[in-house]
């Protein structure tokens, strides 16, 4: 009896320990320029970041959170000289020209609903195996056109994708999204939830997703199961600016057509543009 209880207790203990958040230790991953922490301590590669703020006089600083395994990049050009309220005072030794920023490293992207109970273990695949998805419904009535996602170029940064460009016309709601490769050759689809608010960045985590052309389906959570679709090109940070620029030109052309061409015609051109960009990115 004791033999069987002990491993169980150990396992429960490990679970409890895993759920208790550790001290939020932040480490410098990458540094360019002069940077200081809230104590006025000069930062270097792998040094510990103390306090709620960082100060820099140029370049960029990348900080990782040891607890959440998340990283955040602070760029001097995007920071202002006005300090956020969390930075109470500028420590001595930090030049007046240095900009400051809140040193918080977000644990997860905005709008991502994590199924994990533990901070650094994603239990979603296991939970998906054990429980079935919620009951879905259709509404069998002729409804006409509704807001649909847009064809768009989306930035794929690691495993994070900012889907705001595609969701732009949709009203505020929580949406279930599904991403499937258009050509079906880049592995299976991935899905998740996103809390969308118009004109706000909305990053979602898509682990294992590679750059390429995808079919993005969105459906209102708790509503109908029939989702609306659009094509989305996931671009790496290196290719994203060029892809966006060219795609914007295509959008402007379709906008200039006005009422002379219907939506499906405009959509066809945008999809053709996305496909050519995807082929170029893939080196075809």
């Amino acid at each position: 009896m004791r033999r069987s209880v002990l491993p169980g207790l150990c396992f429960v203990g490990m679970l409890v320990m895993a759920t208790v958040p550790g001290s939020a230790q932040k480490i410098v991953l990458s540094i360019d320029g002069n940077w200081w922490d809230s104590n006025g301590q000069g930062l270097g590669f792998a040094s510990r970041v103390n306090g709620p703020c960082v100060f820099g006089d140029g370049g960029l600083l990348q900080v990782a959170d040891a607890g959440t395994k998340a990283a955040e990049t602070f760029t001097y050009d995007k920071m202002t000289s006005a300090c956020p309220s969390s930075c109470t005072a500028r420590p001595s030794g930090v030049p007046a020209s240095a900009h400051c920023h809140d040193a918080t490293v977000p644990a997860a992207a905005t709008g991502v609903v994590r199924a994990s109970l533990l901070p650094d273990i994603n239990l979603r695949p296991i939970i998906d195996l054990l429980f079935r998805r919620p009951q879905m419904y259709i509404v069998a009535a002729a409804r006409g056109l509704e807001d649909e996602p847009l064809e768009a170029v989306l930035s794929l940064d690691g495993s994070e994708v900012d889907v705001s460009a595609a969701l732009q016309p949709l009203p505020t709601a929580t949406y279930l999204w599904t991403l499937d490769p258009v050509d079906g050759g880049m592995g299976g689809g991935t899905s998740g939830k996103v809390s969308w608010q118009p004109s706000q960045p909305s990053k979602v985590r898509m682990p294992g997703v590679a750059p390429g052309l995808y079919r993005l389906t969105v459906a209102v959570e708790g509503g109908e199961s029939e989702g609306s679709q659009a094509w989305a090109l996931l671009s790496s940070p290196a290719q994203y600016p060029a892809d966006t620029k060219e795609f914007r030109q295509a959008v402007e052309i379709t906008q200039s057509w006005g009422e002379r061409v219907d939506t499906s015609g405009k959509r066809a051109l945008l999809r053709a543009t996305l496909r050519s960009l995807a082929d170029r990115d893939a080196g075809k």
Binding site: P134, Y137, V139, A140, A141, A142, R143, G144, G223, E226
Partner: protein, 490 residues
């Protein structure tokens, strides 16, 4: 102590395995891992075989792609006054008792001043001001709808109410979720969005309006196979009628002498009912909207084909007529076991099912019990002394592997004939695994028996002599020597 001994015995172990396997197959079943096989090998073929093909008293009027372009100027959502004109045309030309409008009318507002498509040639929705000028009539739309729902109107009109998603603040609280935990663990289904906000027709038209919710549950494979008579809506209160059930309830002539329907009505069931799909679209006497609406200016009527004439002659007097859209912009096409189907046809299938009894699915508990019953059959065949005495092991194997699943398949067919769907795939999986276990256990038992007993020729001779009651001492001596010589021979 006795219980411990029982569980150590072969039969006890079999019962433990049976219960464990029943739980395992229930897990696979409830989490949807067997769904594909269940539908492909069980329900879908049965639905196709038993589909009714005789014309019903339900009719469909479709707004086709041409109608959408010609009568509604290709504008979506459809113009309200155009839809009302179509309802009037259906009443005048088909004389049904009930008309169902399977169109989204949630955009119609009390103060709306509709601008009907010029091709429909409707009178202007204006009134004369005191100065004699034409001004938009803000009550026009409400008056048009009111006209359709007055007591004097000879046909009942039932409208589709489009449900909306539930706001986050109205979702279940943690303690409510906790109370549902046992059911959640048993079925594996997370919180079900039963409550809905409705865009009620009553907000823009008289309270006497009849409506229903055209909402259908979707199976795990994205196929529609079921409907519900009632749907829970927000705010909490009695469940509201689904559109098929609201149509059936509105048709007094259809349900007056329909005892089965009345019995179901008394039960107030909100459970899923499997649809009885009609394979042929002609069962629902389809007509295009342009057959009923006034001809377009300058348009010539095409000469009817033989098929048109035969179809027209076969139409029975229609009791219920459904108006729906099959144009592409309607976004109203769904996957069913019979292929893709427009929403209005799906609604007709559900209405036909509602009026003439659908197929009920066996509950999870009954399925669990059936699985246990099949397992008991396996245990009986493998452990019964009577069976093992008269039936060779090979035949027991075949009986268990094929006989029990076949028996349950036949039972499933019989129940389906009586409008009950019992899935036998989970039972088949359980029986096969249980069979393998019993077989291995039997082999283990035989091996142990052989190991514990002296099964050499000498040993067998010894036991034979013992059973004959021979003198023990010399016999054993000869047996030992005999055993030695036998071993040497071997």
């Amino acid at each position: 102590m006795m219980l411990k001994r029982f569980f150590r015995s072969r039969i006890g172990r079999s019962f433990v395995v049976l219960f464990g396997l029943a739980l395992f197959t229930h897990f696979l079943d409830s989490r949807g891992y067997l769904h594909g096989a269940q539908m492909a090998l069980g329900l879908d073929p049965m639905l196709q075989v038993t589909a009714p093909s005789t014309p019903s008293e339900i009719g469909i009027v479709e707004i086709t792609e041409d109608d959408y372009r010609n009568y509604f100027c290709g504008q979506s959502p459809l113009d309200g006054r155009g839809v009302i004109a179509l309802v009037e045309a259906v009443r005048e030309k088909l004389h049904p008792a009930v008309i169902g409008v399977d169109l989204d009318t949630s955009d119609w507002k009390p103060g709306d001043i509709p601008a009907p498509c010029y091709k429909l040639d409707l009178p202007p929705c204006t009134h004369k001001t005191d100065k004699g000028e034409n001004a938009a009539d803000p009550t026009c739309m409400a008056n048009e709808v009111r006209h359709l729902v007055t007591e004097n109107y000879p046909t009942k009109v039932v409208w589709a109410e489009i449900p909306r998603e539930i706001p986050a603040e109205h979702r279940l609280k943690w303690y409510e979720l906790l109370a549902r935990l046992p059911k959640f663990l048993w079925t594996g289904e997370p919180e079900e969005s039963k409550v809905l906000q409705l865009q009620t027709v009553a907000g823009r038209s008289p309270d006497s309006i009849v409506w229903g919710i055209p909402r259908f549950p979707l199976d795990l494979d994205g196929v529609v196979r079921k409907y519900r008579r009632r749907i829970e809506v927000e705010p909490s209160g009695p469940p509201k009628d689904s559109l098929p059930h609201a149509l059936a309830s509105a048709c007094e002539a259809c349900v007056r002498d329909n005892r089965a329907w009345q019995e179901e009505e008394r039960r107030h069931s909100s459970e899923d009912v499997i649809l009885k799909f009609a394979t042929n679209k002609s069962v629902f006497n389809p007509k295009d909207a342009n057959d009923l609406l006034p001809p377009l200016p300058g348009a010539t009527k095409e000469k009817p084909t033989q098929a048109n004439i035969e179809q027209a002659l076969s139409i029975r007097p229609l009791t219920i007529v459904l108006i729906g859209g099959t144009y592409n912009g309607a976004r109203d096409i769904y996957r069913t076991p019979l292929g893709e189907m427009p929403g209005v046809q799906l609604l007709a299938q559900a209405l036909e099912t509602d009026l003439h009894e659908g197929i009920s699915e066996t509950s999870e508990y009954n399925k669990f019990c059936a699985d246990l019953l099949a397992g008991l059959g396996v245990i009986f065949l493998w452990n019964s002394k009577i069976v093992s005495r008269y039936v060779p092991l090979k035949r027991i194997f075949s009986l268990t592997l094929f006989g029990i699943p076949t028996a349950f398949l036949l039972l499933s067919l019989y129940l389906f004939h009586h409008r009950i769907w019992l899935d036998s795939i989970a039972i088949l999986v359980g029986v096969v695994i249980h069979q393998v276990y019993e077989e291995f256990d039997k082999i283990k038992e035989y091996t142990e028996e052989i190991e514990h007993k002296d099964c050499t020729i000498a040993g067998l001779k010894k036991r034979l002599e013992e059973s004959r009651g021979a003198e023990p001492q010399p016999a054993s001596a000869s047996a030992v020597s005999g055993s030695k010589s036998d071993k040497a021979d071997e």
